[in-house]
């Protein structure tokens, strides 16, 4: 009993001896994004106190959850060294499906249909990348326009309204001031984390994300998992579409134009390396919230909305450049 006590005391002593400063620095290096987020929130709050209003906060979380839901799927893809640019197309088609069938079926059935469509479109992407062997970003750029085309043809370019007030209430409800989609995002992010770190599927993903040839030689089912991850990502995108349609209470072809940019930016800024093999789901959620706060700040400060394009692109490129620099340094040290 006493011995354990002393060892505990010893170890804490050792920990303090390595210095709270070092620990703090390590924590800061690891979670610098959280620090940036907090600093940004404080700064925006000082400049515009209305930022802290519950209405505004829940608005920010709504925006963050749409990007975040899609970004969970994108995190899986990027950790496997893949990419999907067809996010906007998948969201459009699945939301339009919801809006079209809602007058005739239950809410659950409509959502199930949307997720099924997301899975189907993801399957198409996966097959093109895995078996036709087209580079992921080109294949999904092609299917982006394919899906958008399908969405426009389906609706003849019109807006499909969602008339069911129950659907709107379900998808845009809040618990206190925290929106339901954000709670779903938290759950989905946790599931994504578990899938990535604790399952065979996730291990295979990360294995071929860091070295595809080695994973194949090790006998991992690379082709099957590759198709699978596109399907899972498609379901995540469709889920984002389900909530987006509820928030807009309508669906149309160009409801999520350019959305892929925000999603990829959230994932990469969150700290997931573009070259694959490694992912942080927590970082992805923080990244999504960060961009939502940034967009909200621009709105509150009455900056022209076009600046958002400039800012998102710049932040993405800066994050990747910083990541490239850091990994290059790691390689030099022989730690990469």
């Amino acid at each position: 009993m006493t011995t354990t006590d002393t060892t505990v005391a010893d170890s804490t002593a050792v920990a303090t001896r390595t210095g709270p400063l070092t620990v703090a620095r390590r924590l800061l290096a690891r979670h610098y994004l959280v620090v940036v987020l907090v600093a940004l929130c404080v700064a925006v709050g000082l400049a515009r106190p209305s930022f802290w209003g519950t209405g505004n906060l829940s608005n920010v979380l709504f925006q963050a959850s749409f990007v975040g839901l899609a970004a969970c799927g994108m995190t899986l893809l990027i950790s496997a060294g893949l990419l999907d640019l067809s996010v906007g197309g998948v969201i459009a088609v699945s939301s339009i499906a919801v809006a079209t069938v809602l007058p005739h079926t239950t809410i659950g059935a409509a959502i199930a249909l949307a997720l099924l469509i997301g899975a189907g479109l993801g399957l198409l992407n996966g097959l093109l990348v895995t078996y036709v062997r087209i580079a992921p970003f080109i294949a999904t750029l092609g299917t982006l326009y394919l899906f958008l085309g399908l969405a426009f043809i389906w609706t003849s370019g019109k807006v499909v309204p969602i008339t069911s007030s129950n659907y709107r209430a379900t998808t845009t409800g809040t618990l206190g001031w925290v929106p339901v989609p954000f709670l779903v995002l938290v759950v989905l992010a946790f599931v994504t984390y578990l899938v990535l770190q604790r399952t065979y599927f996730g291990r295979t993903l990360r294995a071929f994300g860091s070295n595809e040839r080695a994973a194949e030689l090790a006998g991992l089912p690379v082709a099957r998992v590759k198709v699978g991850v596109f399907v899972v990502a498609g379901i995540c995108f469709a889920l984002a579409g389900v909530f987006m349609a509820g928030r807009l209470s309508s669906a149309e072809g160009n409801m999520a134009m350019g959305f892929e940019m925000n999603v990829i930016a959230a994932v990469v800024v969150g700290g997931t390396a573009l070259r694959g093999g490694r992912a942080t789901t927590f970082g992805t959620v923080v990244g999504a919230v960060l961009f939502a706060v940034l967009a909200n700040a621009l709105n509150l400060l009455a900056v022209a909305s076009y600046w958002q394009y400039v800012l998102t692109g710049t932040v993405l490129v800066a994050a990747v450049a910083l990541g490239a620099r850091r990994s290059a340094a790691a390689e030099v040290r022989g730690a990469g």
């Binding site: 036709v132 750029l141 092609g142 299917t143 326009y145 394919l146 940019m261 993405l316 450049a321 490239a324």
Partner: protein, 342 residues
Amino acid sequence: MSDTTATRLVADERARSAERARQADSRRRVLQNAGVLIPFLLVLVAGLAFVPHFASGSNVTNVLVNAAILAIVGYGMTLVIAVRGIDLSVGSSQALAACVAAAAVNAAGPLVGAVVGVAVGAALGLVNGVLVTRLRVPGFVATLSTMSVFRGLVLLFTGGAPIMIASTSFKSAATTSVLGVPVPFLVALVLGAVAWFVLDRMRFGKHVVAVGGAPEAAVDTGISVDRVLLLAYLVAGAAAGVGGVLLASQLGVVNGSVASGLELQAIAIVVLGGTSMAGGRPRIIGTFIAALLLSMINSGLNLLNVPSFYQYVALGGLLVFALSIDGAQRAAVRRMLEGRHS
């Protein structure tokens, strides 16, 4: 005795492998040419047979001008893809170049406007090149980001409003014809000839092939890979700038959202033209023919009153088809080179 047998065996083996390489090359060429020529002829015949007014003077001019703008952007994209890069920002670059050129034409005359437009395109290409070579950002992420940034800049520049071009001489540049051929098409022909000459006959072209074919080997032979990459992105930007000036001249009114989705069209024609996504094989002539093909498809669908959304689907389908051909061709070559080895 045994020595001569050994040399003979080696010589035999060498001859056989040379023969295999030759066959693989001819097989590749057949697939590449078939990949673009057969669809081209099919669409041409189908257009002439089924589409009313397809061969009318105004439609032919329209097809040629659109094809010219597309082809010029395609030349730049050919170069970038040949060095294993990609430029997703061409649409936004073209829009920014077109809008700045339009404003410059109104402020300082047609010639200055044209020069400014091309310079803006080149500067944007330089930004991409620096991001890729100096900051080590992968090409598609760098240009995906700049696609968004440039689009934001052009919308800020125009404030979301269209810019009317007052100068009639600038507007007539794209619509006048010399000997029945529209001026932009002549520009595309000349630039294509220059691009072909540079890539096929000059040292820079050999460097492009080396960098695209095997970057590590290119480094080892002392080629400055970064310089070649930087130049490739710069040229792609400048090509988008030329396309932007011609577009401004053709439309007469430009706004911040012109040329969205151009990157997909450019990639589609480049790959369809036989430039391999694996790098090292630029084919300017193929790009040129594929630009004509895509322009004919678009105008045919327009003349048939097909809703414009179907053009998205056609384009996506065309791209997937082109990429499948590219993949099949690479697989065929690999089989030729490896398959009969045992």
